[in-house]
Amino acid sequence: MSESKHTDQSRRDFLSNGAKLAAGVTLAPGVMLYGVAHARPADQPASSSVRWGMLVDTNKCAKGCNACVTGCQTENGWGAAGSSDEQLSSDNQKAQWIRKVELRNTATDSVHSLPMMCQHCETAPCVDVCPTGASMKRADGIVLVDKHICIGCRYCMMACPYKARSFIHEALEDQRAHAPRGKGTVESCTFCVHKLDAGEGTTACAEACNTEGHKAIIVGDLKDPNSELSQAVSQHATTQVRADLGLNTGVRYRGI
């Protein structure tokens, strides 16, 4: 599952551009029909012609607003708003699929608020270090933990530059049917993979943010040039957190 870190990025870009061209069908000169990424039938595997990504506009993200976090908790059953919250663990041990972070520029004193979660890296360090292959990347770019074979060693937690993963220390009950989680395994943001596979095309955090009216999170297919996400990413200057690591994250930020 893991890909070599030394892959020539320019060659990869060239190949993915080729795939983009191949994915489109020319109807007439200048008119292209692209396959609809969201309508994947249940018996078809996730395709590498899709790469799920997210753009967080920190200018729209409100300070003190926690809607994305509670939205994720309710959807996936973790934390205080979730159905299978840990009862015995201390707060710094508890699950943390997504958290709010405030950044202050010491020179200008400007404060930006943003949600931080698994960045769904193309070359994910957690996948590289996993001794069992439990930490894995799906064909469509979503990084997941296969808890069936996770041995709970927590190497991936050490390797993740974003502190995106957490470990479950106690037996749990009342998990959500689509989000199994249990003692002795590592977990993190799943990019609401159950929603994407069902064709909903969005995540719980983005929905919660839209409900609050902030509309700071755009979810979409980075490989589909017509998606709202691709349009936004091509129009505005966006940042990858710790871009110096060359991980090519699926989650990007605007305004930081």
């Binding site: 018996d43 808890k147 199994p180 993979v193």
Partner: protein
């Protein structure tokens, strides 16, 4: 040697059948695990004997396909097992003791160590009342709103032919 080998091969299946037979027959109260009847549906996705012997193989294959590749067919999905075999919390049959779970009761009786339910939900989230298998009205409503794709294509093709004929 050969007949003995054959006997050994069928032994696990025989054992399972013998152990669970009293529960389905219902005449030997207190013998064998108490396996609750399914909440909905009359026929399992596979024959009962195949399921008794092989359900773990189906589940193992399906879990890898689902998690790693994103294939979400319903036939061998654990979530669907639970949907049919276990009542939701808000249903009448839900007042049950811990040991009366369709999967757990047999696993406990046979001393199976693997436990899907340390992580997976033990009860369905929605009541079976609205499931098309239970309520014919719901099934009819669903068909009206979501016709099968073949049906829809035929309908569209027929409409196209009609327009052709008029012209």
């Amino acid at each position: 040697m050969k007949p003995i080998k054959k006997l050994l091969n069928v032994l696990p299946a025989l054992l399972v059948l013998t152990l669970s037979a009293p529960a389905t027959a219902g005449d030997n109260e207190g013998v064998g695990p108490n396996i609750p009847a399914p909440v909905k549906g009359e026929q399992c996705v596979e024959d009962t004997d195949v399921m008794r012997k092989n359900h773990m193989k189906f589940l193992m294959k399906h879990r890898d396909e689902t998690l790693r590749e994103g294939i979400r067919t319903k036939q061998h999905s654990l979530k669907e097992c639970i949907e049919c075999h276990v009542p939701a919390k808000d249903e009448a049959q839900a007042t049950r003791s811990e040991g009366e779970h369709f999967c757990k009761s047999c696993h406990m009786y046979t001393g199976v160590k693997i436990d899907c339910f340390e992580c997976h939900a033990t009860v369905p989230e929605k009541s079976a009342m609205f499931h098309p298998l239970v309520t014919p009205g719901m099934k009819a409503a669903k068909e009206a709103h979501q016709p099968a794709s073949a049906e829809l294509l035929n309908k569209l093709a027929a409409e196209k032919n009609n327009t052709g004929a008029i012209q």
